[in-house]
C-alpha cells in the first residue's frame, strides 16, 4: 500500500473509531475486573433465560440462537440481521451497561473480596462461573454436549502441553493414553454398574455409580500413567523426531491391542456406559486439572522440565535428575489424558478404538499449537476456540476444513509459538480489582 493511501486509510479508521465510540467503550471495558465480566455475563444469561424466547420471537428467529447465532447465520443467511440484533441485545448490551455504569461499584466489591484469603475468593468466583455456565447451558442440551466435550478438550490440551510445551518433547502418544483411560474407566463402570454381554451382571446397584465414578476415572488415569512408561523410558536416549516415532508407535500399539482384544469388544467397541459425566462432574474435573497442572508446572519439577527442554546436558550438570523429570512428567500428563478419556467415554456412552486415531491426535495438536506452547491460558483458549469454531462452522461442511487450516497457517506465520505462548497463569492477577481511573 502506498504511504499516502495508507495515511488516508488510517485517518478514516481513526475517525470511525471516534464516531462509534470504540475508544470510550474499550476504555470502560478495560476498567472492569473479572468480577465485572462475570456480572455482565450473569445478567446476559438471566435475560436470555427469562425473556430470550420472546426476544428471539420479536426478531423473527425460530428459537434462541444456540451458539451465539453462528449456526443460524450460516444456515439461513436471511436471518443474519435478526441473529446479530439478538446477540447485541442479549449479550453485548448487558455487558456494556455493566461496564459503563457499575464498574466502580463492582471494583469496590472485587477489592473487598480480594482481601479474603485466595482459596476462598477463588472458590467464590468458580461457583459464580459455574452458575452462569449452568444457566446458559441449561437452556439447550446441545449447549451441554458441546460444553462437556470442550471441557474435556481443555484437559487434553493442557496435559499435552505439559509434554510438548513445557518439556519440549514431541509426543504423539496422547490419544493412546486417552484410549487407555477410556477403556479402563469404562471397564470398571461396566463391571460394577451395567448388565451387559461383555462382563455379565452388575455387581453394585446403579445409584452408587455417581459416587464411585471418580474412582473409575482415577483408575483410568493410573492405567494411562503406567502405560506412558513405555514412552518415557525410551525418551531417556531419544529426542525429537525419533521420540515422535516411538510415541506414534505406542499409539498404534494401544489401538491394535484394543482392536484385537475380544474381551473389550474389539473393533466393534464397547457401549452401555451410564451417562455419568454430567456437566458439574466434567466442570469439576476440568477445574481440578487446571489447578493441579498449573501447580505442577510452577513447581520445582515444572521448572526442571523447562530446563530439560532448553538444554538437557546443562540441566544434568545443574544436578537435575533428567530421567526422573521425564518419567514424572510423562506419567503426570498421561494421567490427565487418561482422566479425559474416561470422561469422554462416559459422555458418548460408547468407545471404539477407531476414535483414538491420528485424526483425534491432530485435533489435540491443533489446539495446543493454536493456543500456545508453555502456557495454561493458551491451552484453554486453544481448546475453547477450536471447539467453538469447529462447531460453529459445521454448516459449511467441506469449507470448514479449508477455513480452519488457513487460520492455523496464519497463526503459524504470525505467531509461531501460538496465540498466548510462554505466559504464566496467575489466578491472583486475573481476579484482582482494576485500579480507579
Amino acid at each position: 500500500m502506498q504511504p499516502r493511501y495508507f495515511a488516508t486509510f488510517y485517518l478514516n479508521y481513526k475517525n470511525m473509531k471516534r464516531i462509534i465510540g470504540f475508544k470510550k467503550i474499550l476504555g470502560f471495558f478495560s476498567a472492569m475486573p473479572a468480577l465485572g465480566w462475570l456480572f455482565g455475563f450473569f445478567s446476559a444469561v438471566i435475560i436470555e433465560y427469562l425473556i430470550g424466547n420472546n426476544i428471539a420471537w420479536l426478531l423473527g428467529l425460530p428459537k434462541i440462537p444456540v451458539l451465539f447465532g453462528f449456526l443460524i447465520m450460516l444456515k439461513k443467511p436471511l436471518l443474519i440481521p435478526g441473529a446479530l440484533a439478538y446477540i447485541i441485545i442479549v449479550y453485548l448490551l448487558p455487558l456494556t451497561l455493566t461496564a459503563r455504569f457499575f464498574s466502580g461499584k463492582i471494583n469496590k466489591l472485587a477489592a473487598k473480596l480480594y482481601k479474603l484469603p485466595p482459596p476462598v475468593y477463588t472458590v467464590f468466583y468458580l461457583i459464580f462461573l459455574y452458575i452462569i455456565i449452568d444457566i446458559w447451558a441449561g437452556m439447550s442440551d446441545y449447549r451441554i454436549v458441546t460444553l462437556k466435550l470442550t471441557f474435556i478438550a481443555i484437559i487434553l490440551t493442557l496435559s499435552l502441553n505439559v509434554i510438548n510445551g513445557y518439556m519440549g518433547e514431541f509426543s504423539c502418544s496422547h490419544t493412546g493414553f486417552m484410549a487407555l483411560g477410556a477403556y479402563f474407566a469404562s471397564t470398571v463402570t461396566l463391571i460394577l454398574f451395567t448388565n451387559d454381554k461383555l462382563f455379565g451382571e452388575a455387581l453394585l446397584p446403579s445409584y452408587l455409580a455417581p459416587f464411585l465414578f471418580p474412582i473409575a476415572l482415577i483408575i483410568g488415569g493410573i492405567a494411562a500413567a503406567l502405560g506412558s512408561l513405555l514412552v518415557a523410558i525410551p525418551s531417556f536416549r531419544t529426542r525429537g523426531d525419533y521420540l515422535a516415532i516411538i510415541s506414534l508407535a505406542f499409539m498404534f500399539i494401544v489401538k491394535s491391542l484394543i482392536e484385537n482384544l475380544e474381551v473389550l469388544g474389539g473393533a466393534r467397541g464397547m457401549g452401555g456406559q451410564h451417562p455419568l459425566a454430567n456437566l458439574p462432574t466434567v466442570f469439576i474435573w476440568t477445574i481440578l486439572s487446571i489447578w493441579i497442572i498449573n501447580n505442577f508446572v510452577t513447581s520445582i519439577i515444572g521448572k526442571a522440565t523447562n530446563a530439560v527442554r532448553d538444554n538437557e546436558t546443562a540441566a544434568n550438570a545443574m544436578t537435575i535428575n533428567t530421567r526422573r523429570t521425564k518419567i514424572v512428567t510423562f506419567m503426570f500428563a498421561a494421567f490427565w489424558a487418561g482422566v479425559a478419556g474416561g470422561l469422554f467415554a462416559h459422555v458418548l456412552c460408547y468407545v471404539n478404538p477407531g476414535t483414538f486415531g491420528i485424526k483425534k491426535l491432530a485435533e489435540i495438536f491443533t489446539m495446543v499449537y493454536f493456543g500456545g506452547l508453555n502456557s495454561i491460558v493458551g491451552s484453554i483458549i486453544g481448546a475453547v476456540a477450536f471447539n467453538l469454531a469447529s462447531e460453529a462452522l459445521r454448516p459449511l461442511e467441506l469449507f470448514k476444513w479449508i477455513i480452519i487450516p488457513v487460520i492455523m497457517i496464519l497463526i503459524m506465520i504470525y505467531r509461531p509459538t501460538g496465540l498466548v505462548a510462554f505466559k504464566e497463569f496467575d489466578i491472583k492477577k486475573i481476579l484482582a480489582p482494576k485500579g480507579d481511573k
Partner: protein, 392 residues
C-alpha cells in the same frame, strides 16, 4: 460524521426488513426430518449419496405439496448435518437436531461407528431414528426408538456360506478381512461359523487378516493360495476390494471370489476393473436388470446425478419412505413434538410388508427389518447383475 452511523443503522434496518421472508412469525406447522450424514471425513462418498437421495426425496414431497396427514398437507424441511464420520460429532449433531431443530425423526448416521452412540442419544430423547446402512446389532439392541433399513451381519454371513454350498458344493474356503474394522471382522466371524457348521471343523482352511490402510496383501494371499481353498471371501470396502482382488489375480488365484454388501458401491468397478468380473457378492439390491420401482428409482437417480445409485442411496431412499409412511399414518399432526414422535415410532414399529426399492420388508420388535438379500454377479461388462435372491 454522524452521517456514517446513520447510514449504518439504516442499512441494518433495511436488511432486517428485507429478511422478512426468513422470519418465522405466523408460519405454518412444518414437518422437519433430520439427516445425519458423513459429508466430510473418511467416507465422503457415502455422505454425498445420502444427501443427494434426501434431496431427490424432498423434490417428490414438494411436488406433492407436502406430506398429507389426516387430509391436510404439511410442508417438509430437511435438516442436513455433517457428522464428519466421527462418533462425537454424530452425537453432537443428533443432540442438536433433536433439541434445537425439533426434527420428528432422524435418518442416519450410516456407519455403525457413529450410529451406535447417536442411537443412544435418539433413544434417550424418545425420537425415532432410522439408520439405513448400519449392520452392527448394537445399534438397535434394547433401543425401542432406533430402527435400521438393512439386514444384519448374523443373517448375511450364513446366507453367503449356504449360497456357496448350494451353488458350487465347495468345502474349503479362505477368508481375508480387516481385523481393525468392525464390519469386516464381524462378517468374517459369522461366515466362518456358518461355513464350519456346514462343512465341519477346519473347513475354513485359511483365515487371514490385515489392518486398515494396509496396501500389500501378498503374504496373506500366498498363504491362501497354498492352502488349497476353493473360494475366497473378502468382506471389505470398495477401496480395499480393488487392491486385494488385483493382487490375488496377479498371484494366480483363478477360483471364485465372494464379497459382501460393502462391495455394492459404483466405485468398486471403477477401481478394480476387469479383475473383479465374475465375482459374486451379496447386497441389498442389484442395479442392472432391476424391475418395477427399483428400476424407476435407478433411472431417475441416474438422470439427476449422472451416476448409478449404490446401496447407500437405495437404503436411504427406503428409510425416508418408511419415515414418510409412518408420518402419513399419524391420526393428526398435533405440533406437540413429543407426542408426534411417540406416534411415529409406534407407526414405524407396526409397518408390515413395506415395498421398497431394496425389496419388501417388515420390522421385528427390535427394530430390525426382515428382508431378502440378493446375490449379484459382476458381469463381463462390469455391471452388477442379479443372480439369485435369498430370503430368511
Amino acid at each position: 460524521m454522524k452521517k456514517l452511523s446513520l447510514i449504518l443503522t439504516a442499512i441494518f434496518f433495511t436488511l432486517f426488513a428485507l429478511s422478512s421472508s426468513g422470519w418465522c412469525w405466523g408460519k405454518k406447522k412444518i414437518i422437519k426430518i433430520g439427516i445425519n450424514a458423513p459429508i466430510t471425513g473418511d467416507i465422503p462418498k457415502v455422505g454425498e449419496n445420502t444427501k443427494n437421495t434426501a434431496k431427490m426425496w424432498l423434490e417428490d414431497i414438494e411436488k406433492a405439496g407436502g406430506i398429507e396427514i389426516a387430509g391436510k398437507k404439511y410442508p417438509v424441511e430437511l435438516v442436513i448435518e455433517d457428522n464428519e464420520a466421527q462418533a462425537e460429532s454424530a452425537v453432537k449433531v443428533n443432540t442438536k437436531m433433536i433439541t434445537e431443530d425439533e426434527v420428528i425423526t432422524v435418518i442416519g448416521p450410516q456407519s455403525s461407528k457413529q450410529a451406535i452412540p447417536a442411537g443412544g442419544v435418539a433413544d434417550s430423547y424418545a425420537t425415532p431414528m432410522i439408520s439405513p446402512w448400519s449392520t452392527n446389532p448394537d445399534t438397535t439392541k434394547d433401543r425401542p426408538y432406533v430402527f435400521r433399513g438393512c439386514f444384519l451381519d448374523p443373517f448375511q454371513g450364513p446366507m453367503l456360506a449356504n449360497f456357496v454350498k448350494e451353488e458350487f458344493g465347495f468345502t474349503k474356503a479362505a477368508v481375508l478381512y480387516d481385523v481393525a474394522s468392525d464390519y469386516p471382522k464381524g462378517l468374517a466371524e459369522y461366515f466362518k461359523q456358518a461355513w464350519e457348521k456346514n462343512n465341519g471343523e477346519g473347513s475354513v482352511v485359511s483365515y487371514e487378516s490385515f489392518t486398515t490402510k494396509d496396501a500389500d496383501f501378498s503374504s496373506q494371499l500366498t498363504k491362501i493360495i497354498n492352502s488349497g481353498a476353493e473360494v475366497l471371501f473378502v468382506p471389505q470396502y470398495y477401496n480395499e476390494v480393488a487392491l486385494i482382488v488385483k493382487q490375488a489375480r496377479e498371484l494366480g488365484w483363478k477360483k471364485p471370489i465372494l464379497g459382501s454388501d460393502s462391495w455394492g458401491s459404483s466405485e468398486t468397478i471403477t477401481l478394480c476393473g476387469s479383475d473383479c468380473y465374475g465375482a459374486f457378492f451379496s447386497t441389498h439390491y442389484a442395479s442392472a436388470g432391476a424391475e418395477g420401482i427399483t428400476k424407476e428409482f435407478i433411472d431417475r437417480y441416474k438422470k439427476k446425478y449422472s451416476y448409478v445409485p449404490d446401496d447407500v442411496c437405495a437404503l436411504t431412499w427406503d428409510s425416508l419412505k418408511l419415515a414418510q409412511k409412518a408420518i402419513e399414518a399419524l391420526v393428526e399432526f398435533s405440533g406437540d413434538i413429543k407426542k408426534d414422535r411417540e406416534n411415529v415410532k409406534k407407526n414405524l414399529a407396526e409397518i408390515a410388508n413395506f415395498e421398497g426399492v431394496t425389496g419388501n420388508m417388515s420390522f421385528t420388535p427390535d427394530g430390525d427389518p426382515v428382508k431378502c438379500a440378493i446375490i449379484v454377479k459382476i458381469s463381463d461388462a462390469g455391471e452388477f447383475r442379479f443372480y439369485k435372491s435369498v430370503c430368511p
